[in-house]
């Protein structure tokens, strides 16, 4: 297992390097944006003294490298500075929105995996059949509907027709965990549906390819039934190749979904991001962007580690 430990360590180093690079790029992106940050924030009406005062307050007069080191040191301790528009620390603001965004992400992920794998498996057993064609078409339709339309249709259906969901009511997990999960179910489904379509499309192709593969033929020659071949060989192999796609999907969801949050009136990260942009709240904005970037990097790191755990070829440092 020496090779497994070593490859994990190598991945960890790669991860830390990437994280450092991402943080630098995020930071400098906001420093390099043309024009004077303080001037942009205060608007053209502000006097030169006010702008200068803000520059001083934001530390914009200090050289970039020094500011980055300072910022990195603070970020390392979880301090991303103070939001200009909310007046509270950026870290706290992001943390307060995480229950909604992370909860939705997790539930959406469960939907994506639980629906796309069985769908793909059904289609791959008989490609070109009526079952396959209708499921594939359903996937394409889901992919094509814009999220806001989908959200409204689902709200109408579940709250006006079935009366099992009240739109616009959010319960914090600390108040009532069950109610918190229930309040997130429908929005998560809205986020998940297009992603299900995407993951399904990928998995279907991958499962069809594997089911025509040599090791499946070997399993057939061992006398295994189609179902056990699907469970024992095709699904695990497709899972390995789909890890990248699923991590892409997840990193997309983790950024929060502005439209779904807006429609369902949820205090998620998407709306915080919108507020930061519209109020020119640069500390908040850079905090959120940094969070998003880190989430993506962490997810990719986890995807790599999971792939290595499942696939012995990756453990041995060989591309399949």
């Amino acid at each position: 297992m020496g090779s497994a430990v070593r490859s994990a360590l190598i991945r960890l180093c790669e991860f830390l390097l990437t994280a450092l690079l991402v943080s630098f790029l995020t930071f400098s992106a906001f420093a390099i944006i043309p024009g004077d940050t303080a001037r942009v924030m205060l608007g053209p009406e502000a006097s030169e003294e006010q702008v200068e005062a803000l520059r001083e307050e934001l530390g914009l007069n200090v050289p970039l490298a020094e500011r980055y080191v300072d910022w990195l040191g603070n970020a390392f301790r979880g301090d991303f500075g103070k939001s200009l528009s909310f007046g509270s620390p950026v870290g706290d603001l992001i943390a307060s929105r995480l229950p909604v965004t992370l909860g939705m992400s997790l539930i959406a992920l469960v939907f994506v995996v639980a629906v796309s794998f069985p769908m793909a498996a059904i289609c791959s057993r008989n490609p070109g059949s009526i079952k396959d064609k209708s499921l594939s078409t359903a996937g394409h339709i889901l992919f094509a509907i814009p999220p806001f339309a989908l959200s409204m249709v689902l709200i109408l259906f579940f709250s006006k027709v079935l009366h099992i969901f009240t739109a616009g009511r959010y319960t914090a997990p600390s108040d009532n965990f069950g109610a918190y999960v229930v309040s997130l179910l429908l929005p998560s489904l809205c986020i998940a549906l297009p992603k299900i379509a995407m993951t399904f499309k990928f998995l279907r192709a991958s499962m069809i390819e594997f089911s025509q593969g040599d090791f499946v033929r070997t399993a057939k020659s061992h006398g295994l039934s189609d179902l056990s071949i699907l469970i024992k060989h095709i699904i695990p192999n497709s899972a390995v190749s789909s890890i990248t796609v699923i991590s892409l999907v997840l990193s997309d969801i983790m950024g929060g979904s502005l439209i779904v949050e807006q429609v369902f009136n949820l205090p998620g990260l998407g709306r915080l991001l919108l507020a930061a942009i519209s109020r020119r709240d640069f500390p908040l904005l850079s905090g959120i962007v940094f969070y998003l970037a880190m989430m993506t990097v962490i997810l990719y790191f986890l995807a790599d580690v999971i792939s290595a755990v499942i696939d012995p070829r990756i453990r041995d440092g060989r591309a399949s």
């Binding site: 020659s221 061992h222 039934s225």
Partner: protein, 522 residues
């Protein structure tokens, strides 16, 4: 269970393929043959003759597009055609074992050898501990010295020959009465092929397993099978004991097949490509060391695959490069072509070098026509021509390789294996190279196409004076075509010189081993 007489009788079997929309195509036509208890029956024929379809029909692994129209397949006294899919499925692995051509991806890469094999036992709800014992015993039987260790390995850590052994272990695990082997050695090198065939022979002798051995390799069949059948267009046209069929073939087709497989230089009309007196060196290597690195973190200790390789090749010469798999032949080719940077040493080339590879299916782009491939080869070589010149050039080259203008608009899937390989050779020729490197250019082809591609390469060498470096594990081809030979073993050149001298009086063990395995050559 022992069954006296015929273990398998196929009577008047007709089988068609249809994809639903077009009219069904008859693949097997009134096929009748039998396999006697405890014998090895060889089945030979060109590609497309229905050999593999026969194997699939008997084993019950036919795709949904294939349909048995009439006839019977009687296995141990029962007609398989009348059985339900489930009954047939349960015979597989239990009474009928099957192994296929290419072992490289025939094991699930995510599972250990043991787990790949244990599914056979688990399906039959055998005792777990006893099943493990059985697997270890069988791994030992197929030639693994340390079965415990092998059982824990993952497939990617096994060589091609080892994987095929594992697959044979799986096929023989439940002690079947019939083993169907469909080209089990054609993707393996000669030395490995020989050991696999010896293994199958032992299993037949010691375990009493009857074997249906399908191959396009006449020499293997000749030395290995009790009886041989020749198949053409879905039916058996010749069948007798090995000796008779090889000595005095009844049909003209078998006679031709035999002649082609013998690769007799005279009947093919080829001679060894020699350099003229004082011809200049066009390709030389000096102390090349090369290897692969998988990760940039381990740059310091790249394991060397080839070391201290030096040679000179003169203009017009045809040189053979031989050695068992894993000896570094392909790595050397990659280094010469500049696809791999050597760790040390240097390569001198004069003029253009073009290459032909083993598998003509994957070396052509399925989305493009032959014309596109020729165009691209021309562009890659930096040759500019007017449209008219280009057209004439292409036509001439196609004619040279034995294709014609109508092939310009063909896609790879519209051509046979031999035609595809010729198209790949045409791609070399449009560049007007001084050296052509051919890496196992024949081994993926059937006997007829093999003979024509060999003749083609030899003609290019003798008529155009193009220098050839031919990598092959087929010593007879090398002997017929090449005046010089280089023998590699474990990444080093162990012997080189005049082909006739080296092959008649080998000084190294590696050459001797290659010569010994020769009787199983395709």
């Amino acid at each position: 269970m022992s069954y006296k007489g015929h273990i398998l009788e196929v009577n008047n079997l007709c089988l068609s393929l249809s994809n639903g929309s077009s009219a069904p195509v008859r693949i097997l036509n009134d096929l009748t043959f039998n396999v006697r208890s405890g014998e090895i029956l060889g089945l030979i024929g060109d590609s497309g003759s229905g050999k593999t379809m026969t194997a699939l029909a008997v084993s019950g692994l036919l795709s949904d597009f294939a349909h048995v129209d009439s006839g019977e397949i009687i296995f141990e006294g029962e007609d398989l055609v009348k059985k339900s899919p489930k009954q047939r499925r349960l015979l597989l692995g239990e009474k009928i074992g099957v192994i296929f051509q290419d072992p490289s991806s025939a094991l699930d890469p995510l599972q250990t050898v043991e787990s790949n094999l244990s599914e056979i036992i688990r399906l039959r709800s055998g005792d777990k501990e006893e099943g493990r014992e059985r697997i270890l015993r069988m791994l030992k039987t197929v030639g693994f010295d340390d079965p415990e260790e092998t059982a824990k390995r993952y497939p990617h850590r096994l060589s091609g020959g080892q994987r095929q052994r594992v697959l044979i272990a799986g096929a023989a695990l439940m002690n079947p009465s019939l083993l169907i082997a469909d080209e089990p050695t054609s993707s393996l090198d000669t030395v490995t092929s020989m050991s696999i065939m010896q293994l199958l022979h032992e299993m037949c002798q010691e375990m009493g397993i009857s074997i249906l051995f399908i191959s396009h390799n006449l020499n293997a069949v000749r030395n290995f099978c009790d009886r041989v059948m020749v198949m053409k267009e879905g039916t058996i046209i010749d069948s007798d004991t090995s000796w008779d069929i090889m000595g005095q073939p009844k049909s003209a087709f078998t006679a031709e097949l035999l002649l082609k497989s013998r690769l007799d230089p005279k009947s093919l009309g080829i001679t060894q490509g020699k350099a003229e007196e004082g011809a200049p060196v066009v390709l030389s290597a000096e102390d090349i060391c090369a290897g692969y690195q998988y990760s940039y973190f381990r740059r310091s200790k790249t394991p060397l695959v080839i070391s201290d390789v030096s040679f000179d090749i003169r203009k017009g010469e045809s040189v053979g490069l031989i050695g068992s798999s894993g000896c570094g032949k392909t790595t050397l080719v990659k280094t010469i072509l500049g696809l791999l940077k050597p760790e040390s040493g240097s390569i001198h080339r004069s003029g253009k070098i073009a290459a032909v590879f083993q598998d003509p299916v994957s070396s052509l782009n399925p989305a493009h026509t032959v014309r596109w491939h020729l165009d691209e080869a021309l562009m890659a070589a930096g040759i500019k021509m007017s449209a008219d010149e280009k057209k004439n050039h292409f036509l001439k080259v196609l004619e040279d390789v034995g294709l014609s203008g109508k092939h310009l608009t063909r896609f790879p899937h519209q051509m046979s294996g031999g035609q595809r390989q010729k198209a790949a050779i045409a791609m070399c020729l449009v560049q007007d190279p001084s050296v052509i490197i051919a890496d196992e250019p024949f081994s993926a082809l059937d006997a007829s196409s093999q003979a024509s591609v060999i003749k083609l390469l030899s003609d290019i060498n003798t008529k155009h004076g193009t220098t050839m470096l031919i990598v092959s594990h087929n010593l007879r081809v090398i002997k017929a075509m090449c005046s010089k030979v280089i023998v590699m073993d474990k990444g080093r050149i162990v012997e080189s010189g005049d082909t006739d001298k080296v092959l008649d009086n080998p000084v190294s063990d590696a050459t001797a081993a290659l010569l010994k395995a020769r009787m199983y050559e395709a």
